[in-house]
Symmetry: C2
Subunit: 203 residues, 2 copies
């Protein structure tokens, strides 16, 4: 149906978003197009405000106000600039912040190495990471990447790039998620949880 071409264009645009397949793009486009309670108008106005007001922090890659660049996390003097937490996506910064334990700085790579999608080192914010470390104030780099084949390869690549520099490179612990059980853990996770078991005296 040529006459619903704009709806087809919307489906294609939504399917470009991470984690949105063709089927869910179709579903989302139709839900938007139904325009209940003026949804389309609200969405357009909000996207225009985002385009006007939001940008990527030039230092860490987090989403920040255009008027606050570098972002608050990068300029907050109470945060420890000697520890850098490297994440894949800007959204992961919020997740680490919610955990409430980390008080250092961040660096978002904007993805991971993915030969399948053609994303090599140049597609990621790796050079700017090396530049920040070059500055000499950073003692430790925590690789807070996801846990899949591509993320592991990215962590490996970064560890190699950082070898020989005067920084400690660590990564998140693997283990049984809180609220879960052994039955749901794969053998690799369970092996890691056993190997790095913690004493109840300490915990």
């Amino acid at each position: 149906m040529k006459s619903t071409e704009s709806l087809d264009r919307l489906k294609l645009l939504l399917a470009k978003l991470p984690g949105v397949g063709r089927r869910s793009a179709d579903r989302l486009a139709i839900a938007m197009a139904r325009n209940r309670e003026g949804y389309l108008g609200d969405l357009v106005a909000t996207l225009q405000a985002v385009a006007r007001e939001i940008t990527t922090c030039s230092l860490c890659g987090a989403m920040t106000a255009v008027a606050e660049n570098p972002c608050r996390l990068c300029t907050d003097p109470r945060r420890d600039e000697r520890i850098l937490c490297v994440v894949e996506d800007p959204g992961d910064i919020d997740l680490v912040e919610r955990a409430g334990l980390f008080r250092g700085r961040y660096h978002a790579l904007m993805g991971k190495l993915s030969p399948a999608r053609g994303d090599g080192p140049a597609s990621l914010r790796i050079q700017s990471l090396l530049n920040r470390i070059q500055g000499g104030t950073i003692d430790e780099v925590i690789l807070a990447l996801n846990s899949d084949v591509e993320s592991d390869a990215t962590a490996q690549f970064l560890a190699e790039q950082l070898r020989g520099r005067p920084v400690r490179v660590t990564r998140l612990a693997r283990g049984i998620p809180a609220g879960s059980g052994l039955a749901y853990a794969d053998p690799v996770t369970l092996a890691a949880a056993l190997k790095h078991r913690t004493s109840l005296d300490h915990d």
Copy 2:
């Protein structure tokens, strides 16, 4: 962060879409806000075109061009107006069309009965369905609803509403999905597949 308020508003708007939880709304909003290759501008222009050009078919509820209402499926003289296929969402119409077998008309309910979400019969396009049947040209109503507790209750409710009217009410067969195996079928599905087994002579 008050200064990224428009991004927070975008997250809330996206979380209103069906099947989008808080986590995925956050992820989608950030992916949009990153604005790679002018994504936000394209999305805004496309949504404005959709708002201008697309509407809900007054007869069947499918998405259609404003200039084509009732939609092409409703006005195509080659389609059999004696059989009406009732679906939950307008997007389901495309799925049935892709199956390539059905040549009747459609009616989208725009959801299903859901006490949890406060969606009763008045929230759905049930009265307009009854009005269409009242017209007297429809011989069969196929309830092509999903297969969960709320959808089954909706089918039950519709069957009761249609009792006593001169229409045959049918529903989609249950069985083993093509390309799947017995090991993945729940007992109810397997029981239905056994009960309604088909002869290889016929199929």
